[in-house]
């Protein structure tokens, strides 16, 4: 059974890490979770991002959910937002595509242009 004591240990570990490398969020990932996105598999896309972040120990990546953005025909849609860089929007995402975006874009900084449906704001 998980208890709040477990959380305390996590907090201490995380604070140690942050002392070493700072607490900056490098990349923000936003998963579109409107009705059409959900119907097209956005929940599995979200879950895969969270799994990859946990298993690769990516401590400087933030993932959030948001509502519809008017790209219904390309759902599930995912935005990758980095400081000082134009926003990259990926469309028709699947768990497999998420894994590729994690390796190529999030970890190695190379945009996966095959999946991009829009860039900039």
């Amino acid at each position: 059974m998980k208890t709040l004591t477990d959380l305390k240990k996590i907090r201490e570990k995380a604070q140690e890490e942050m002392k070493l490398r700072g607490s900056n969020t490098r990349i923000k990932i936003v998963v579109g979770m409107g009705t059409s996105g959900i119907a097209m598999g956005a929940r599995e896309v979200m879950k895969t991002f969270l799994e990859e972040i946990a298993s690769r120990n990516l401590t400087d990546v933030l993932v959030t959910q948001t509502g519809e953005k008017g790209l219904s025909s390309m759902e599930p849609v995912v935005d990758v937002v980095e400081d000082d860089k134009p926003k990259v929007t990926y469309g028709n995402m699947t768990p497999d595509k998420v894994k590729k975006v994690i390796v190529e874009h999030i970890v190695n900084g190379r945009i996966v242009s095959d999946y991009v449906v829009a860039t900039g704001n």
Binding site: K2, I10, R11, I38, K47, A54, T64
Partner: protein, 189 residues
């Protein structure tokens, strides 16, 4: 939507868009009463009675900035509840929030499965760090009762400035939810 927890996810997103910062979710599975009940309560901006009526109509959406004027989320949820001998009810008050209740006959042949509740809750909790989730899962079977309570406010307090997307925190929430869902027999409902 293929399962009930996808509808739940859709409703959670509605609550977030209504600027709720507390969403209470209660799921009750009662074998004796043959009932699967979901209650979702938020403290968002709420709706007046006209909007509340319209929200149950497929050709209404509050997403005014978009071209496509359809909102299928709530009507589909309602239809799916009613198709399985259930009921659907929504009440709301502007400035106070909205309460939605969906009932399903547990053993009805047309009832959709509850589906992957864990992924729905995990994504919503981590994906909306500004919102607190108070989750209660209750399983009742002829006098035997198992329940699971999960309150993200307590977790956030314990974590301080550590974000919910911190890898170990994701795993913590994932495992806690998993245990709770298993203990209340909600993984295969």
């Amino acid at each position: 939507m293929q399962d009930i927890s996808l509808h739940l996810l859709d409703i959670i997103e509605n609550s977030v868009r209504a600027e709720a910062d507390l969403i209470k979710i209660r799921i009750i599975s009662d074998t004796q009463d043959n009932l699967l009940r979901l209650i979702i309560e938020d403290n968002g901006c709420g709706m007046d009675s006209r909007t509340l009526d319209e929200a149950q109509n497929p050709f209404f959406t509050s997403k005014s900035d978009r071209v496509k004027k359809v909102g299928l989320g709530i009507p589909l949820f309602k239809q799916n509840a009613e198709l399985s001998d259930g009921a659907f009810n929504m009440t709301s008050e502007p400035g106070f929030g909205t309460v939605l209740r969906a009932d399903f006959a547990l053993n009805h042949i047309d009832r959709m499965p509850l589906g992957n509740l864990k992924d729905t809750l995990l994504g919503s909790i981590v994906g909306h760090p500004e919102v607190d989730f108070d989750i209660n899962l209750i399983y009742k079977d002829h006098g035997v009762e198992q329940s699971f309570h999960f309150d993200t406010a307590a977790i956030k307090e314990e974590l301080g400035d550590i974000p919910l997307t911190y890898p170990d925190v994701i795993e913590y929430i994932d495992q806690s939810l998993n245990e709770g869902i298993q203990n209340t027999n909600m993984e295969d409902v």
